[in-house]
């Protein structure tokens, strides 16, 4: 790694002021993305701001029709939380699919969302549930938050403090793994909340996580895998590499969307 100065602020305000003061500083949440990047010398932030001492950034709370998760909450805690399992079970399952058990003990939801890796799972959940990302400055709707591969609407010195998820009636996530990295080659998150239908896709798009409005329209008529039969999305704009061609990813989006809807209505396709 390149050398750096290590900071351990006690409050969000201190962290924000460090970010404002040092242009190239990076926040350290779980470190499961930042540290490997630094070890390979692909990133060399001269200041590291460790978030782990700041109180009030972890925690899971259900109130009324929404579930709120603190930004520093670890994936393993989301996975095993009885509150999450009860309120939005698919979110607990999704958290349990990120990385591996050791990575899940450290990785955080805030870190994942702020990074917006095009193969990550949480962005699909946020977009797929219509979450609200709450920062030290404002509330940002998921539809506005994810602006492209590795980029978000976060402004300099803006820090995610929690994420709030509306509780859906039905929801499911299908993840088709890259066998090497175990990230999502393609992941599809579907949800239904009243008349609000969402289909969010990670892994496939060359501009990061996106919604499939054609599928959402079809599912509005009837929320069943049959509504998506024969439907495809174009291969244009899909990622392409040795793990999956654009055509294959486009194909997977259709397959996984049907399977996810089947899961969501309680009739999984074997």
């Amino acid at each position: 790694m390149y050398a750096f100065t290590f900071h351990r602020p006690q409050t969000v305000r201190q962290a924000a002021s460090l970010l404002a003061k040092h242009e190239d500083a990076k926040l350290l949440a779980g470190g499961q993305t930042l540290l490997p990047t630094m070890k390979l010398r692909l990133a060399g932030p001269p200041q590291i701001i460790d978030m782990s001492l700041i109180e009030g950034l972890s925690g899971i709370e259900q109130s009324g029709r929404s579930l709120t998760i603190g930004a520093m909450t670890r994936h393993s805690d989301v996975n095993t939380s009885p509150v999450v399992q009860q309120a939005i079970p698919v979110l607990a399952q999704l958290a349990g699919m990120i990385g591996d058990p050791a990575v899940r003990h450290m990785g955080t939801i805030g870190g994942s969302i702020a990074n917006n890796d095009p193969n990550a799972d949480y962005p699909a959940a946020c977009l797929g549930l219509g979450a609200t990302i709450i920062t030290n400055k404002r509330r940002i709707k998921a539809d506005d938050f994810f602006t492209g591969m590795f980029s978000t609407a976060l402004e300099p010195a803006e820090i995610i403090t929690k994420v709030s998820f509306p509780i859906p009636k039905k929801a499911a996530y299908q993840k088709f793994r890259n066998q090497a990295s175990r990230f999502a080659l393609v992941g599809v998150f579907v949800s239904k909340r009243g008349g609000d239908i969402r289909v969010a896709v990670t892994g496939a798009g060359s501009n990061g996580v996106f919604r499939v409005s054609s599928f959402e329209q079809a599912l509005k008529k009837r929320f069943s895998p049959k509504s998506l039969e024969g439907m495809t999305i174009p291969a244009d704009g899909m990622n392409s590499d040795i793990h999956g061609s654009a055509e294959y990813r486009a194909h997977l989006v259709g397959v996984l969307a049907r399977r996810a809807v089947a899961d969501a209505i309680g009739k999984p396709i074997a």
């Binding site: 790694m1 390149y2 050398a3 750096f4 100065t5 290590f6 351990r8 350290l28 470190g31 499961q32 540290l35 490997p36 070890k39 390979l40 001269p46 590291i48 460790d50 782990s52 393993s76 095993t80 990385g99 591996d100 058990p101 050791a102 990575v103 003990h105 450290m106 990295s181 175990r182």
Partner: protein, 170 residues
């Protein structure tokens, strides 16, 4: 910056440690180079192989993907601390030995530490499928995993009431 040092305090295998280190020091480097606890290994540079797994505050962590400075005040347990000092082996260690769960031994400390963590989280009666899924973050090139899975199942049963692995295998 380069040349800067910082101090960190933690407990490793029950012993208090005060170290003056380069901030870039990963936990695995602190363990292997500063403390000469070389049982924890490095096998990759992408945080995937699991040879570096230790327990921090009771949870399995990849020691190659955490800075020592993040662990101020933490309680760290490595493979060297798993067995009681001058005492018997941990049932999971015995289970690996009795079930031929290792060949070259390089991935083994990480496997054993992961295995103990699996049992703590998932219970003592582990089926093959669960074990295999839980081993997603541990790569072995020698054994093909078959005996590792057997060993972990046996170790899990033996960890119930701290019995011996040999009994559990019966």
């Amino acid at each position: 910056m380069a040349g800067e040092t910082a101090t960190v305090f933690m407990t490793v295998n029950g012993k208090p440690i005060n170290a003056n280190i380069d901030p870039r020091t990963l936990l695995v480097q602190l363990l292997r180079e500063n403390l000469r606890l070389t049982g924890t290994h490095v096998g990759c540079d992408t945080s995937q192989c699991g040879a570096c797994v230790v327990h921090v505050n009771g949870k399995a962590i990849k020691s190659c993907t955490v800075l020592a400075l993040q662990l101020e005040g933490a309680d760290v347990l490595t493979i060297e601390g798993l067995a009681a000092p001058d005492g018997p082996l941990h049932p999971m260690q015995e289970a690996f030995r009795d079930n031929h769960g290792l060949q070259c031994g390089y991935c083994t400390p990480g496997m054993i530490m992961t295995a103990v963590d699996i049992v703590r989280r998932k219970g003592h009666d582990l089926d093959d499928r669960t074990i295999r899924e839980e081993l997603e973050g541990n790569i072995c090139r020698c054994t093909g995993y078959h005996n590792i899975v057997k060993a972990i199942a046996a170790g899990g049963r033996a960890m119930r009431g701290n019995g011996s692995a040999a009994k559990a295998a019966e």
